[in-house]
C-alpha cells in the first residue's frame, strides 16, 4: 500500500510540474463550458417553442429542461473523454521507458502490480480533477432551475463519467506501456478510442447493424448511456470493472515483458 502511494504521489506531482496537464484541463473545461452553454440555450429555446405550440394547440407543455440539458451534457462528456484521455495517459509508461527510470522502479522493492496501480490511480485522480469543475455548472443549475435537476441523474451521470474515464485511462496506460514514444502511445490510445467511437456511431446508433446486441454489450459508450438516463445497471458496473481489471492485468503483463526484452 505504501509503495502504491509512493508511486501515486510521484505521478501526481509530475503531472503538475509539466504544462501538459494544465493545458489539457484548460482546453477540456473551455469545451465543456461552451457546449454546456450551447445546450442550455438551445434546450431552453426548444422548451419555449414547445410551450408556444402547447398554447396554440392546447397540448400539455411537459418539458423538463434540466433533465434534457444534463442528458445532452453527459452525452457530450463521453465524447470529450474519448478524445482527452489519451493525452493524460500517453506519458505514463512511455516516458519512463525512454528515460530509463522504469529500470529504477523495476529494481525497487515494489511489485509490477503496485507500479501499475499507483499510476492508474494517479491518472484517475487527475481525470477526476479535470472533470470536477464541471460540477459547478450543476450547482448553478440547481440553484436557478425549475424544476430542480434530478439528483439521481447527476450522481449516475458522474458515476458513469468516472467509470468510462477509468476504463479509457486503463486502456490508454496499456498503450503507453507498449512503446517508448509518447507520440506513438497517444496515437495508439487515440486510435483505439476512435474505433470505439466509430463503432458506437455507425454500428450501434446508426443504420448499420441496428440492434447488434453483442456490439452493444461490448461498447464502452453504449454501456455509459444508461448512466446518462439516471440508471445504474449492475451489468454496466460489472462491465466497467472487468474492463479496467482486464487492462490493468494486460499492463502488468506488458511491464513484466520489459524484463524479458533485450534493451
Amino acid at each position: 500500500m505504501r509503495s502504491i502511494y509512493a508511486i501515486y504521489r510521484k505521478e501526481m506531482s509530475n503531472y503538475f510540474v509539466s504544462p501538459i496537464a494544465y493545458v489539457v484541463i484548460a482546453v477540456f473545461l473551455v469545451l465543456c463550458a461552451a457546449f454546456f452553454n450551447y445546450f442550455l440555450t438551445a434546450i431552453i429555446q426548444e422548451s419555449f417553442q414547445m410551450e408556444m405550440q402547447g398554447m396554440r394547440f392546447g397540448a400539455p407543455a411537459d418539458f423538463d429542461v434540466p433533465t434534457q440539458v444534463l442528458r445532452a451534457f453527459f452525452g457530450l462528456l463521453s465524447t470529450l473523454i474519448l478524445f482527452f484521455t489519451p493525452m493524460l495517459t500517453m506519458s505514463v509508461y512511455a516516458e519512463e521507458r525512454r528515460r530509463g527510470t522504469m529500470e529504477l522502479l523495476m529494481t525497487s522493492p515494489v511489485t509490477d502490480l503496485q507500479i501499475v496501480l499507483g499510476k492508474f490511480f494517479a491518472s484517475l485522480s487527475l481525470f477526476l480533477l479535470m472533470v470536477l469543475p464541471t460540477a459547478s455548472y450543476m450547482v448553478f443549475m440547481y440553484l436557478r432551475s425549475e424544476p430542480r435537476p434530478p439528483w439521481a441523474l447527476l450522481l449516475a451521470g458522474y458515476g458513469g463519467v468516472a467509470l468510462l474515464g477509468g476504463s479509457l485511462l486503463a486502456l490508454g496506460s496499456f498503450m503507453s506501456s507498449l512503446t517508448e514514444s509518447q507520440l506513438i502511445a497517444a496515437v495508439l490510445a487515440f486510435s483505439a478510442d476512435l474505433v470505439i467511437w466509430v463503432i458506437n456511431i455507425f454500428f450501434i446508433r446508426g443504420s448499420l447493424g441496428q440492434g447488434n446486441t453483442v456490439l452493444q454489450y461490448l461498447s464502452v459508450i453504449h454501456q455509459y448511456e444508461d448512466f446518462t438516463r439516471g440508471i445504474v445497471d449492475t451489468s454496466a458496473l460489472i462491465y466497467y470493472f472487468s474492463f479496467i481489471v482486464l487492462f490493468i492485468f494486460l499492463t502488468v503483463r506488458s511491464v513484466d515483458s520489459m524484463r524479458w526484452r533485450r534493451a
Binding site: R2, S3, Y5, A6, I7, R9, K10, S13, N14, V17, S18, R99, G100, T101, M102, E103, L104, L105, M106, T107, S108, P109, V110, T111, R259, W260, R262
Partner: protein, 319 residues
C-alpha cells in the same frame, strides 16, 4: 554476500552471459571489467532483479534473485548506466521518492536523504531541478539514489562515465569510502579505475569470465609476470644470444639500434623469477655498456588485452 553460479542469459540465439560464476564477499569492492558488450550490464541487471536469467542461480544476501526478488531488491542500490532521473523533480524530492519506493521508514527518511546528499556532496544542490544540473551532478544524484536506503549491496554500472577527471577522482573516493559497510560491484571498461578502487576483478569477455583475481595478482603473477627492459650498447645479434642463454628468460624483443648505437631490449620473465641480476652479470661479463635495467610489471591493460583478444582469437578458430 553475492554468489553467482553458472549464470547464463540468452536473447534468442545471442548468448549475452555464458555460465558466469563468481562470489563477492561482504564489504568488498568487486570490479567488473570487460569491453563494451561483454555482458557486464546484463549480469548486473540479473543481480538487481531487473531481468531473469535463462539458467543458473544468483543469490544476494542469501536470497535468490528470481524467487525472492523483492527481498533482494530491498538490499540493493543500483545505478544503471544512464542514471534513472526525473528531470522535472528537485534533487531532494527525487531522493524522497526513491526513499519511499525503497521502503525507508518515514521517521528515518529525511536523515537518510541528508546522509546521501552529504556523501555525494550535493547539499547545496538539493533544491535544484535535476534537469538544470550538469552531467557530473546528475551522475552524483544517480549515486545518491543508490545509497539513500543504505543498502547492503551497491551495484554501479559504469559510475564514472561522462565525468571530468576531478569528478572521477571524487567518485572513486566516494566508492572506496563506501566499502566495508557496503558490498560493491562496479563495472567499467576503464582499467586504471579497477586497479585504483577494486579489491578484486572479474574480467569478462563475450559473456564468459576470463579471469578472477586481485588487481595486484593479475598484474604480477597471473600473466607473464615481469618484463625487464634494458638499454645497452652491444651488437644486436650477440645480445640476443646472450639473453637467450639466461635460464628463465622468455620472449626477447630487441628494438633496432638508436642513433647513438644503444639497443633497447625487453625480456619477458617466467613468473616468480627476477632476472635482473643475471642479466646485469651477463652484460658486464661481455664488456658491454649497461645504461638502464628495470623491471616492468605487465599493466592491467596489457593483461586485459591479452585475455580478451586470446579469447576472441580462440572463439574465431573454433567457429
Amino acid at each position: 554476500m553475492i554468489e553467482v553460479h553458472d549464470l547464463t542469459k540468452t536473447y534468442g540465439s545471442v548468448t549475452a552471459v555464458d555460465h558466469v560464476s563468481f562470489t563477492v564477499n561482504k564489504g568488498e569492492i568487486l570490479g567488473f571489467l570487460g569491453p563494451n558488450g561483454a555482458g557486464k550490464t546484463t549480469t548486473m541487471r540479473i543481480l538487481t532483479g531487473f531481468m531473469p536469467a535463462t539458467s543458473g542461480t544468483a543469490r544476494v544476501a542469501g536470497f535468490d534473485v528470481f524467487n525472492d526478488s523483492i527481498e533482494v531488491r530491498r538490499r540493493i542500490g543500483y545505478l544503471p548506466e544512464n542514471p534513472p532521473l526525473y528531470p522535472e523533480m528537485t534533487v531532494e524530492s527525487y531522493l524522497d521518492f526513491v526513499a519511499r519506493i525503497k521502503n525507508v521508514p518515514a521517521d528515518k527518511r529525511s536523515g537518510r536523504i541528508t546522509d546521501a546528499l552529504q556523501k555525494t556532496s550535493l547539499m547545496d544542490k538539493r533544491t535544484e531541478l535535476i534537469k538544470r544540473l550538469s552531467r557530473g551532478y546528475k551522475q552524483r544524484v544517480g549515486l545518491a539514489q543508490a545509497l539513500v536506503h543504505d543498502p547492503d549491496v551497491i551495484i554501479l554500472d559504469e559510475p564514472t562515465v561522462g565525468l571530468d577527471p576531478k569528478q572521477i577522482i571524487e567518485v572513486r573516493h566516494l566508492i572506496k569510502g563506501l566499502a566495508g559497510s557496503h558490498t560493491i560491484i562496479l563495472s567499467t571498461h576503464i582499467l586504471p579505475e579497477v586497479s585504483m578502487t577494486c579489491d578484486r576483478v572479474v574480467i569478462i569477455n563475450k559473456g564468459k569470465v576470463a579471469a578472477v583475481d586481485t588487481p595486484q595478482n593479475l598484474t604480477t603473477q597471473l600473466k607473464g609476470g615481469q618484463k625487464i627492459r634494458l638499454e645497452v650498447k652491444a651488437p644486436e645479434k650477440s645480445l640476443q644470444e646472450a639473453l637467450a642463454q639466461i635460464p628463465g628468460a622468455g620472449k626477447i624483443q630487441i628494438e633496432s639500434p638508436r642513433q647513438d648505437g644503444h639497443l633497447l631490449a625487453t625480456v619477458e620473465a617466467v613468473p616468480g623469477q627476477d632476472l635482473r641480476s643475471q642479466i646485469a652479470t651477463k652484460v658486464v661479463e661481455r664488456g658491454w655498456q649497461l645504461y638502464e635495467l628495470r623491471g616492468v610489471s605487465l599493466s592491467l591493460e596489457e593483461i586485459f588485452l591479452e585475455l580478451t583478444t586470446d579469447d576472441a582469437a580462440h572463439a574465431q578458430s573454433t567457429n
